[in-house]
């Protein structure tokens, strides 16, 4: 179920890489921004205590905005140098961690679920919280909308086109700045959605960005950098591997299996399952 949320994260990460060639290591930090924005807006102990749905929408908007600011305020000045960008974004993530600690403290918080309660699925012998279902449905709606946008509209298609060939996009009169800005906005919104759900289903801490980022990393590389379809497939594959490694190897090996699969994929298929050699320059 949560794999759909991971797919959201991975898609945002992969789109930014596809369009601008930027490995945005601050992507995880955006997830954290989403979760903390929601916390600040909806926490019953906080000042605003907005209804969860309103808080959700605002948190997503704030994260999208933060993502845009990150691009326009920082990345657009340095994106010509991959190494500098790579480093700068990871430094932004570390910086945000400290800022969040100063503002919210280092202790974990739990978010108000958008809906509460749960159902037991006797067939599989597990319980599912309604909020998990909401996360699943909302994530898939978001992915579906994105799919429609990038395949059926000129504006969206320009994003895909730019990720295939920047020069080609320029030759067809695509405004790269607009495309990149839009991509960062979308990736930010997706990170915001993911942030609220991960913060609800897991916990909201200043360190929460690392694991989703690592997962996004793994998913994107396995799925193929730049491929949205690859991200969705790999997200489910990773979700399965995570569960499998807990069951087969024991919980202390959580994540190890996916990392090993990742290393293998990188070595055998450096471009991932749906990876295609990018046509950058």
């Amino acid at each position: 179920m949560i794999s759909a949320v991971y797919a959201l994260i991975a898609i945002g990460f992969t789109m930014i890489f596809g369009v601008g060639g930027v490995l945005n290591l601050a992507h995880g930090a955006l997830i954290m921004v989403g979760a903390f924005a929601y916390l600040a807006l909806t926490s019953t102990a906080g000042m605003l205590s907005l209804p969860p749905v309103v808080g959700f929408v605002l948190a997503v908007a704030i994260t999208a905005g933060a993502s845009y600011v990150l691009y326009a305020g920082l990345v657009s000045y340095i994106e010509d140098n991959i190494v500098i960008t790579f480093l700068a974004t990871v430094v932004v993530a570390l910086l945000l961690t400290e800022v969040i600690i100063i503002r919210f403290g280092a202790s974990p918080s739990q978010l108000v679920p958008i809906v509460s309660g749960s159902i037991t699925l006797e067939a599989v012998g597990t319980r599912i919280r309604y909020v998990e279902l909401v996360a699943f449905v909302v994530s898939w709606i978001a992915i579906g909308l994105l799919w429609y946008y990038v395949t059926k509209t000129d504006e969206g298609r320009s994003i895909l086109a730019t990720s295939m060939s920047t020069r080609g996009a320029e030759l067809t009169g695509v405004d790269l700045e607009t495309v990149k800005s839009r991509t960062w906005l979308i990736a930010g919104a997706f990170a915001g959605i993911a942030g609220v759900f991960i913060g609800t289903l897991q916990s909201t801490t200043p360190e929460m960005w690392l694991n989703p980022l690592a997962l996004a990393f793994i998913i994107v590389v396995i799925g193929g950098i730049g491929s949205i379809k690859g991200s969705v497939v790999a997200a489910y594959l990773i979700g399965y591997l995570e569960t499998a490694s807990i069951e087969i190897l024991g919980p202390s090996f959580q994540g190890v299996l996916s990392l090993i699969v990742l290393a293998a994929v990188l070595l055998v298929l450096p471009h991932g399952l749906y990876g295609r050699e990018l046509v950058h320059e």
């Binding site: 000129d154 504006e155 298609r157 320009s158 895909l160 086109a161 295939m164 060939s165 020069r167 080609g168 996009a169 320029e170 030759l171 067809t172 009169g173 695509v174 405004d175 790269l176 295609r276 046509v279």
Partner: protein
């Protein structure tokens, strides 16, 4: 007034001086050929016009100084460039590639008309509407590149080495297309190593060698020029 005019255009890549003061002008409706050996600076010149490299000197298009115009605006203003690498969208279908060419146009019905025009011009593309660009042959890709450029509703087309690496049969198809486009009044700036091809289509030509304009004249003058004949035409 000339459609496109270059005045003393220089391009430097670091220490190398790739274009050393080129001046030429292209008139509305003509096919203008630029010939010269590999590495002479033809592509650099087209890149400068398209706004992909920095240059010194002046380039005007329809009287507008292009220095201040972004490369995507140049395309939207009707000066469209088909690069030597073609720069197609490899995982888009033929149809999607063509749609991308028209992505900035709002007039749906005109776009539909242009689609039909391109499919009519290159029936091979019509047969392969859903095929991914990456999986097509070189000739088909070249057709697609020209087709995509046409979808941007150009007044002027810049073609860089449209025949490079293509079989003679395909070259004929492209020749036919170029002739038809000229009939419809499109201005074309054609850069070619294949001088025979360039001489067949262009009304006026220049010869560029090592970044300098060596010769300018009509196709007749080029035909009669001994140096050109020996160095370039005889080969093909």
């Amino acid at each position: 007034m000339a459609h496109l005019e270059l005045q003393d255009v220089h391009v430097r890549y670091g220490k190398s001086h790739a274009l050393k003061g080129i001046s030429l002008s292209v008139e509305e409706g003509e096919i203008y050929g630029v010939i010269g050996p590999n590495g002479a600076g033809k592509t650099t010149m087209l890149n400068a016009i398209a706004g992909f490299v920095d240059y010194e000197g002046q380039i005007t298009y329809d009287g507008t100084d292009l220095a201040a115009v972004s490369s995507q605006q140049i395309v939207r203003d009707g000066l469209v460039y088909c690069t030597e690498d073609r720069d197609l969208f490899p995982f888009f279908s033929v149809h999607e590639n063509l749609l991308m060419g028209a992505q900035f146009r709002n007039d749906r019905s005109a776009v539909e008309d242009d689609l039909e025009m391109v499919y009519d011009l290159f029936p091979r593309l019509d047969e392969r509407r859903e095929q991914e660009a990456e999986t097509m042959s070189g000739g088909e890709q070249q057709m697609l590149a020209i087709g995509r450029a046409l979808m941007s509703d150009p007044d002027m087309l810049m073609l860089d080495e449209p025949t490079i690496g293509l079989a003679p049969v395909i070259i004929q198809d492209i020749s036919a297309a170029i002739e038809r486009l000229q009939d419809e009044g499109l201005t074309i700036l054609l850069a070619e190593q294949n001088s025979t091809f360039a001489l067949r289509h262009a009304e006026r030509l220049s010869l560029i060698e090592t970044g300098e304009l060596e010769l300018e004249g009509t196709s007749e003058e080029f035909h009669d020029n001994e140096y050109v004949r020996e160095a370039y035409v005889g080969v093909h």
